[in-house]
Amino acid sequence: MKYYDKIMKGRIARSIFRTGLPTSNYRKSLVILNNLFLHIHPVKVKKSTLKFTSTFYLGALSFGLFIILVVTGIYLMFYYHPSVPLAYRDMKDLEFAVSNGKLLRNLHRWSAHAMVLIVFLHMLRVFFHRAFRPPKEFNWVIGVFLFVSTLLLSYTGYLLPWDQLAYWAVSVGTNMMKATPIIGDDIRFLLLGGNVIGENALLRFYVLHCVILPLVITMLIGVHFWRIRKDGGLSSGSKQVADGKRDMILGKNLGVSTEEVLNDRDAEK
């Protein structure tokens, strides 16, 4: 502990962590505010929002799954070639020959399935808690785009093993796109890079799955989290607000109006 203090109070550590150790509440908030990775998180959080039943941690679970998917996805990219003669072979290689390949591939696979489910449940939770109401209505819209991105990532990833299931799922899916009025044929042609599901389609799905969609979803996640903070923190359900009960205010609580807070304070006196 002595050495830790010495290092953390030293010149090098102070140049990295300008605000010093989080010894007081004020310093704790400074640490959050001045850190690129933490600053997206609110400095202070309402205690009620930490209760399991107010969010079921579904948003955090989705994000956790996304992190798992990014990490395992990068691992898989070391062995996978997006080409017709190699794709299926590489998938089997990962499954049967590569050390821990089976674990990583199935982590990726199951996390992907789970993410679709959890994101959907997250959406249901927000809906039934009426947490999409102002000022959070735009964050709901971003959430819808996040849901669509999740589905698209799931769909583009589905083709990559290049097995019968993948091939026919994408056949059926892209033929559904073809049913779009006027631009349907064009969409399918652009997405597949041709008229049949072949080399071009596999490569396009790979680029979408590994580069474009992850970039899009990362940016949307950033905005989504930022907006949670800017719109006054997680919604803790509307119970406290409706009852006019004073929430444990640890931070800016926009869910309760200033008037209500003042009234409560007066009542306590």
Binding site: W168, S171, V172, T174, N175, M176, F189, L190, G193, G194, N195, V196, G198, E199, N200
Partner: protein
């Protein structure tokens, strides 16, 4: 608020407004160009796909009253009792699965969503919205059957030999 500097008056079309217009114009032009370029780039000009026009052997390889499935070009070559030929697509018109000829029941069935067609490719059941297309068949000068998937023909348009 009162303008402290008459030259900064936004209502006058001055040098600032001119440069803003030039800048946003250039940006709009570059964006449009970029989008057109991307659109063209993503549309392949040369496709390495199976050819639409191909030979399927000689007529006497197909017995009378036979239905032969050719997996690679995804077609059924059908020779009727009377001796004439026609070629049917095996790509289901519903969502693109490959349909099968069921010899006992004399129907063409799709495994995905249960569409049913008769031997002529007409829909007899299931969700398929259109009949299976007939492809043009010809006899080449050296006596081979040729199918052209680019040319769709009418039901009655058959190859008589």
């Amino acid at each position: 608020m009162e303008n402290r500097n008459a030259q900064k008056d936004d209502s006058v079309y001055g040098r600032r407004q001119f440069f803003v217009a030039m800048g946003s114009g250039a940006l709009a032009l570059a964006t449009t160009g970029g989008l057109v370029l991307t659109g063209n780039f993503l549309r392949p000009n040369v496709l390495f796909e199976p050819p639409a026009k191909f030979l399927v052997g000689k007529p006497n390889q197909y017995p009378l009253d036979s239905v032969v499935y050719l997996a690679k070009p995804k077609i059924l070559v059908i020779r009727e009792k009377e001796g004439y030929f026609y070629a049917l697509s095996t790509v289901c018109t519903h969502l693109g699965c490959i349909v099968n000829w069921k010899a006992q029941e004399e129907i063409i069935a799709c495994p995905c969503h249960g569409s049913r067609f008769n031997k002529l490719g007409e829909v007899t059941g299931g969700p398929a919205p259109k009949p299976l297309p007939h492809f043009a068949m010809n006899l080449t000068v050296d006596g081979y059957l040729e199918v052209d998937k680019n040319v769709l023909v009418d039901l009655s348009d058959v190859l008589k030999i």
